[in-house]
């Protein structure tokens, strides 16, 4: 009984502390992040100081102004026009906030205490399963695609090889020395099957040497190309902007991520956690160490500019349906046979292509009907020194 009495004051003290903690800080709603870009409390930024805004303007006026200020200015609202002219005639961005969201912001401004720092509340995580369900058909298609490609990649074949090697040794030993089993056909079957399986393994493993088809490493951030390039329709070149001009397609810097993620803080599938990693990298300046998936050996020269710009290839031709992949998988083996095969069958696109404007002899031959088409092979794309030098 005594113990319990002792515990109660301890709890009470904790309770008091917790009260002090919450009352001491200015907790802003998540929407404040967007207001913060132009407005501050206690000083003028691009937009006016918002302290006391609820006393200066009517609530109805504020709601209208947040949603569409330009409409009010054009309608000739005297206060709106005056505010607009005072602030260099920079129009305020329209925000499609709900009544509750605006009320949250206004309540925060009303309760703002200048002596305390502002802390922005985390947006509630909205993980919607509807997105995943809606795309099961698409996903099934991709699964089949990946399965088809993974099937040809070697599994962990070493244990199988060892098992059959032991079987082979036992069979030969029994046939020659031990003579434990009298029926010899068993020995022959075991020897034949072992040799066949081991030969197959040697062939498959040798074929996969230096290939990384099906390689799909864990990345430091759960970044989904399916969400960005597929569902959000962002062009590949928006992030990999050097693919047209450079040898490398380019890993986008974090500043490119922040073009959208300065506003978008919560993802459909991952919530806030993964985007927070990107924001942290941006704030601290510590780069995200992405793991490279598609990698050609050092003795091969490859230029994205040549293939994307002059060759007019689509990204998906070599990288597979990236816009359907949550996690990047290497779908082509990037072997030399694969390169050569494509160079042999792909016709050069002479039409509206300034890179090939000097190739008049080939164009003449095509016009005269001497050649039905000109492939990359014909213009020297398969010479050794084109890629190896």
């Amino acid at each position: 009984m005594r113990k319990k009495i002792f515990i109660i004051p301890v709890f009470f003290v904790f309770f008091l502390f917790s009260l002090i903690d919450t009352s001491a800080q200015n907790v802003a709603p998540p929407e404040w992040q967007q207001c913060m870009a132009c407005h501050a409390l206690g000083k003028k930024l691009i937009g006016p100081d918002l302290v006391g805004i609820t006393d200066r303007r009517s609530e109805e006026w504020i709601y209208k102004f947040i949603r569409n200020s330009q409409e009010m200015i054009q309608a000739g609202d005297p206060i709106a026009v005056q505010v607009w002219e005072e602030h260099n005639k920079i129009p305020m961005t329209n925000f499609d906030f709900t009544d509750d969201q605006i009320k949250g912001i206004l309540d925060f401004i009303k309760a703002y205490d200048p002596s305390q720092p502002v802390e922005i509340a985390q947006a509630p995580t909205t993980v919607s399963d509807t997105v995943e369900k809606a795309e099961t058909a698409e996903e099934a298609e991709l699964d089949q695609f990946l399965y088809k490609h993974e099937k040809y990649g070697p599994g962990n074949t070493r244990p199988t090889f060892i098992v059959f090697l032991i079987l082979l040794i036992i069979a030969v030993a029994d046939l020659a020395f031990i003579k434990f089993i009298r029926a010899h056909f068993i020995h022959y079957i075991v020897i034949l099957v072992s040799i066949f399986v081991m030969g197959e393994i040697v062939y498959v493993e040798a074929k996969a040497l230096g290939r990384q088809e099906g390689y799909s490493p864990d990345q430091p951030v759960w970044f989904s190309h399916k969400v960005h390039a597929g569902q959000n329709h962002i062009d590949c070149l928006y992030c990999h902007s050097t693919a047209m001009e450079s040898k490398s397609a380019g890993i986008p810097g974090i500043n490119v991520c922040m073009n959208c993620h300065n506003v978008v803080k919560s993802g459909k599938i991952t919530g806030t956690e993964e985007i927070a990693k990107v924001v942290e990298a941006w704030n601290t300046g510590k780069p995200i160490e992405w793991v490279r998936v598609h990698n050609l050996p050092d003795h091969v020269f490859f230029s994205h500019a040549q293939h994307v710009n002059a060759g007019k290839r689509q990204c998906q031709e070599c990288h597979g349906p990236v816009e359907k992949m949550d996690r990047i998988v290497q779908v082509e083996n990037l072997g030399m046979g694969w390169c050569i095969h494509c160079h042999r069958r792909t016709p050069v696109q002479f039409k509206e292509n300034s890179f090939y404007q000097e190739y008049t002899r080939f164009k003449e031959k095509m016009e005269s009907g001497e050649m039905s088409r000109v492939t990359v092979d014909d213009i020297g794309g398969n010479n050794c020194q084109t890629c190896h030098y």
Partner: protein, 191 residues
Amino acid sequence: MKLKIEKNKILFVMLIGIGLVFSACHRDNNSTGQAYFPDMSYSYAFETYGSSPNFSDSIQMLMPVEGTIPREMIPYQFGKTFQEQVRAGQELVNPYTPDEAVMKRGKEQYTIFCSNCHGVSGKGDGYLVTSKLFTAQPVSLLSDYVQSKPDGEIFHVITLGSLSTLMGAHGSQIKPEDRWKIVTYVKNGLK
């Protein structure tokens, strides 16, 4: 004797079964597999996006030394304030006239870099906005506010982003020539 053979048969079938089970395992998705002549496959020189033990923060791709600029590069001379934006509008001159080639390239680049938010039409109805993924409503590029701005000011906003920072800086992604072509397209091509 007959019994012994059957025992061995069972053992034999079991071993094959075990072998098949093992062979069904797939390669670890984090493993790149084996390479012949790894010294020819993996570069000894440090590569652009790789890490390097020579620097304390192990970043291979370094920033230029403070106060220096790369050859042939003219650094952008304007800061990110309202006054500087107006000054950019007065001092920068668009080198392009709206001919066919410029407009074609401008439209191409506009579609890649701008239409996500500003929309193909320029009214601020890009997919990221209409789908409510990006909650801020971008300015309509057809409005008098944008169309009345000098070309240099639009160029300035593309390069450094908007004053509100809701539009990010696109200078690192778009080359200056292409930025001017986008400006030309925004001024003359959007309908």
